[in-house]
Amino acid sequence: MTHHSLLRQITDYANRANPYPLYKELHNTPVLHEEDGGPYLVSSYWDILSLLHDPRISSDAANLAAAGADEMGGVAETGLPPSFIRQDPPEHDRLRRIANRPFGPPHSPRKIDSMRGELAGIVSGLIDGFGQARQIDVVDQFAYPFPVTVICRLLGVPREDEPRFHTWVEPIVAGLDPDTGKDDAERRRGAQEARMQLGMYLAQLVEQRSKEPTGDMLSELVTSHGPDGPMTTMEVLSTAVLLLIAGHETTVNLITNGMLTLLRHPEYLERLRNDPGLVVGIVEELLRYEPPVQLVPQRTCIADIEVRGTTIPKGSKIWLVLAAGNRDPERFTDPDRFDPDRKDIQHLGFGSGIHSCFGAPLARLEAQIALSELARRLDNPRLVKDPPPYRQNAVLRGPRHLLVDFDALRP
């Protein structure tokens, strides 16, 4: 029996492939506080849902920094203001409204729906690109390039620049990993540096678009004339950084976790092949069963709050373990079973409340198209290695590679 705290076991890479037994243990202590100055881990479905709607919980970077919970730092350190996920209302609401204008209803109700054909085309192209190979890496050859291409087109970032921005995205995403390990300060500096570099790269694009708008989101953000007015250039940059990263670093996990789960449950893969409509239920169940964002580590409370008899003092760090809430036996029957036929599936995969996932409709559509096409076109796909190697990150959790053998590529 080790004496490592549950928190450390969750962040420990050794447990990345299967953290679910740890989450199950969390349920024994719905509000877990193991270390002085450490976070309060909340793991029950109803408590997480309440806290996501609790106005005493803040996402504001300044409050988080005071609580020691914000690895991304504030304006002074990076030169970029915090993006809207690290702000509270009214600023959060204003920025999100402006960002939503070129993205969704009421202003752009058909934007995502109209991309279906384009998404299907990208997916077909990637699968055709497998060529004569009978083994592929689902991550590198499909689940990563697909959402990258989509978010690049949506924002108006040149796809061929991916190798460039990828070198900045990696340290930024690593900065989101709440690994409590040693080189914390260095990692944080690296993330800040990378965020500034990425911001500078995007600044050139934004400048071009402000002169010659091209109809993409960058152009729309910088020329927005809605009731909230335009964003400042700095706000456009931090929003663009957020959307670029969130637009692919989470979807890659949703698609890869999805394919992995289907390969582990071949009966559903078979059913999906015969009935593409099933993908809707499959993706919702995946968002519950293997959510691409496992936990929300960036919240703090601005008052003492009581959760299940435990008082969380004002200014504490709070981690909302979405993936544990999604498998809370008080909420879901047989929570550890992958069951796309589940009727009752109000999962926390996209969070809830004002910070619920901005890109959820796009992610859903991407995952639906990606998984149904993989199921349709790969003949007899088999997992090469189970479990596959995972990415370091405990928050954005997913396989780094997913090798799959198959017999033939269907047309």
Partner: protein, 464 residues
Amino acid sequence: MTADDHLAWLRCEGRIVIVGASLAGLRAAETLRAEGFTGSLTMIGDEPYEPYDRPPLSKAVLLGKASARHTALPRRRDVDAKWRLGVAATGLDLSAQRVRLADEDEVEYDRLLIATGVRARPWPKEAEAQLDGVFVLRTRDDAVGLEQRLRASPRRVLVIGAGFTGSEIASACREQGIAVTVAERGGAPLVGALGGVIGAVAAVLHRENGVDLRTGVTVTALEGDPAGRVRSAHLSDGAVIETDVVVVALGATRNTEWLTGSGLGAGPRGIACDAGCRAFDFRGIVTDDVYVAGDVARSPHPLFGYQFLSLEHWGNAVSQAEVAAHNMISASADRRPHMWVPAFWSSQFGVNIKSVGVPPMGEEIMITQGSLAERRFVGVYGYQGRVIAAVSFDNTRWLDFYQRQIETAAPFPVESPTVDRRPEGRRPIPSDFPDPSLPSHGPTVTLSGYSPADRRLVFSPARR
């Protein structure tokens, strides 16, 4: 037959009659079948249509996004009922367990559910109410008529009463570029439901959207042309409004007249029932075979001092119907109380208004998030040191939190900090409800009884 045997017999072969074939009636019927009732089920409705949804009639329908003829409610399951539509119930014989119908027919029951709801209060002067172009808006037929008239480019629409329905109608008119005057007896729109502080915000919404809002006035007369079409309206301040469509939105009347003389505890305030939805007779004795649900019911609520509440809320109709249906075919130990926290929504001028709890009980209000001036906020109502209700304008995602505050009787004023708290929200201010005994468009929650435990309250329902 033992009680158990009787219940088993009832569930398999009993006769259940539901009077009222709208939302509550339908959901009750579905619940009965879902819970295993296999006996005969009769649905009686005065309108000739199968159950349809009413909220779209003053919103999506008037905006041209839905058809008034096509709002029939989806079924959760087959209810296998005998439908008696287009035939009103006209009487009830409690001892013979019989419902009398307008076509002289009679239907016998072993269990009866009354869900007859409310109807729009008509313009009180009958001759004026008959003028062509004078409408109320409650039913599908009302909506078909009004929609048609609005599409014919009226010069001006006059809406009498600025409650939720009246405000929604005015909003839909403005959105289609139709000139509209709203005449409201109170000091502002929505005052009866949400108080004067929020009413002032609603007034700004009306005016910013081009509504000619007249408050503190009543309509004294409607005038027609020789062909019997409405031409103008006279206001109590002497003004004359030239108009060719008048919508009377003065709240609702409970459909209980058919129960006069039946011995049931039914009257203009509704039908009193216990927390398990069993109707009281006029002596205050609870019946065991007559149940009530939906807008026509008034029942005691533990969260609000066991006051009798009458709720004209969509969600209440669903929830109370489910509880009533369950209790109708359950042994007494298995029955459930109806403890739904009042909640409603309205959509007007592009703003989503939602509320939980009982705002008219609120003595004071605090804007705990956002700002009145920005029309995005959460307001919390306090009553005797506790949170009793909350209202949001375009801020619905926070309301769950406030509902729990109400359910747990959290202290008021709200001292703990909240995100987006502005200086204006640090202190409570009087919520400024009008004297409830004065007539207005009517609240959506009516406190229609007094708790024996709390004699300090002197609430009387609006317009009685």
